[in-house]
Amino acid sequence: MSATAEKRKAKKAVDTFKLRFSAKSVNESFARMAVSAFVARLDPTVSELADIKTAVSEAVTNCIVHGYKDARGDAEILLKGSIYADGRVVIEIKDKGLGIEDVETAMLPMYTTDPAGERSGMGFTVMGAFCDGLKVRSAVGKGTTVVLTKKIGFGRL
């Protein structure tokens, strides 16, 4: 990491939120709307907003269909967001589901463990392409945490 990146990271978040909601597919749009509303103050462009909404949707959907195998509407997803002074937005999506054995392999384009569910294995690729940072932590039997970083308004400052 560069010295400036180091310095930026050290900065404290200027604003944060934390949400916990049921792992139901109807809440995918709820999560997208919550994040849109949270970042609205940064005056994102249409495409920045579409990027972050799509990435959040991918991560939340993965919690529901893979983490909880589509059958744990009683389980919960944790959604956290932070805005930093320089316009960086960090969104964390966490489940306490099945976890991923090999994260590196899971993140490869077209890799899916659920082709029967009409999945194409593009979720992590979408998250990576539409965000400036993507980190995945996972432990089998414990759950998965995805951390998305998106710079908003950087070109316009």
Binding site: S25, T54, S57, R119, S120, V126
Partner: protein
């Protein structure tokens, strides 16, 4: 997700409106497959100009219907994809497989 289907001369036209995520895709999948089974079309047209959100689950829906159409001897075409649909198709590299047409009136 609003789904309208219309069959005429062997062409099944399916129009989707709303957010094509995992939640919307599950509902749309059932309706579209039922319509395909019912009408045995030669061609399926998915009209996606009013889809204002689409993620990889939407991509899965399109690919799944492509396979479903093939299985009954029909072709599948995406008509007038919205910006949201287009960016996902492009990113996936499935532009060769997913045939797209534009009506030109939009």
């Amino acid at each position: 997700m609003e789904i309208t289907t219309n069959e005429k001369d062997g062409v099944l036209t399916v129009s989707l409106k709303g957010e094509l995520d995992h939640h919307g895709a599950v509902a749309a999948r059932q309706d579209i497959d039922a319509a395909i089974s019912r009408t045995s079309p030669k061609k399926v047209v998915l009209v996606l100009d009013r889809v204002n959100f689409c993620d990889s689950s939407g991509l899965g829906l399109i690919m799944g219907r492509y396979k479903k159409a093939l299985s009954v001897g029909a072709t599948l075409t995406v008509a007038d994809p919205s910006e949201a649909v287009e960016r996902i198709i492009k990113l996936s590299g499935l532009t060769e497989i997913i045939k797209t047409e534009r009506s030109g009136v939009l």
